[in-house]
């Protein structure tokens, strides 16, 4: 992983971390990225704390230091605690988590480990626990977080460590 940025930043100083990063170099796409992020967090049936569980597990799997150490304020307001985060980010979260969190973690792991394996046990458990709109929302959340965290890694400039940072949805 490169600690040297591979693309220059946009040069803007809007205070929006996306617009001010290298992503801001492409004006044709940056508004869509920001709007999609808001839609993912604000317009689906999953609660913010559950969305954050998916985001944080994704961050661990991609090893995005920025993503791993960010905490969305709306998820914290929805009840996400640091002990819950620590469990989600552990190697084997297992039964320390509630059933829905366990399945969200398992879904993210399947996405990265072997998405084509057709894990019938997992599929059945997901369908028994989540509604179809919730599963569609979870899938699209993961697609967005995967896109975003892999983007951050591929663009370089990633430090080895960062403190935990509270963040808000970019406007």
């Amino acid at each position: 992983m490169s600690s040297r940025p591979r693309a220059k930043s946009s040069g803007s100083a809007t205070g929006n971390m996306l617009r001010d990063s290298a992503l801001g170099l492409v004006p044709e796409t940056i508004d869509h990225l920001v709007e999609l992020g808001r839609a993912v967090w604000e317009t689906g049936p999953l609660r913010p704390a559950e969305i954050e569980v998916a985001r944080l597990r994704n961050a661990v799997r991609v090893n995005c230091v920025f993503c791993r150490n960010a905490r969305y304020d709306i998820a914290q307001a929805d009840g996400l605690t640091e002990p819950r985060v620590a469990t989600v980010q552990s190697a084997s979260p297992g039964e320390q988590l509630g059933r829905r969190d366990q399945l969200i973690v398992a879904f993210v792991d399947q996405y990265y480990d072997d998405p084509g394996a057709h894990n019938l046990t997992l599929h059945n458990a997901l369908r028994a626990t989540f509604s179809e709109p919730e599963l569609a929302h979870l899938s699209l959340c993961l697609a967005y977080f995967s896109l975003f965290s892999r983007c951050a890694v591929a663009l370089g400039g990633m430090p080895d460590e960062l403190p935990v940072m509270q963040v808000s949805l970019p406007r």
């Binding site: 992983m1 490169s2 040297r4 591979r6 693309a7 220059k8 290298a22 992503l23 170099l25 492409v26 044709e28 796409t29 869509h32 990225l33 709007e35 999609l36 839609a39 993912v40 317009t43 689906g44 991609v62 090893n63 399947q110 996405y111 990265y112 998405p115 084509g116 057709h118 019938l120 179809e132 709109p133 599963l135 569609a136 929302h137 899938s139 699209l140 993961l142 697609a143 967005y144 995967s146 896109l147 975003f148 892999r150 983007c151 890694v153 591929a154 663009l155 370089g156």
Partner: protein, 167 residues
Amino acid sequence: MTTRLPVASSPAGVVSALVPEDSLTDIRSGFDQLQAAVLEQAHVPAVTLSLCRLRVLQLHGIEVETPPGAASGQAGSTGTAALADPQGRGHCVGNWHREKIFSPAEKACLQFTEIYVMDVQAITDDMAADVKQHYGDAGLVVLIEALGLFDATARLQRLWLSRPAGK
């Protein structure tokens, strides 16, 4: 192993198999608009991105028919036209490093694509510099955004649209 699947053009196309059209409309249209913007921007040719998409699908074991001049996206219409390979080189993309029909710029993007899919942490500064040499900093950002969409679509497609053998 390669699997013949209905090929979705975006994450929104995959979830069409799960929920009705009027569900999650803001998120689905957000993905479609982002994908259309990525494919229509001015920094990297859409044909180059289409070749990279085909390589992503191959690396995920998804079989795609690419007749010359035909669009390769089917499920989900956004960006389908821009995903066409008008020069009919899609069938050669697995051997891009040995093929003379790909330009140095396309080869730089295809090399970046392969490592992105297999292990994004393994991308090197030299690979990124090679892409930037042809398409600049903005072009590198576009390629990475496009690969994020293509890779996520392929993974969701395998998760939700694949079936056990024999079914």
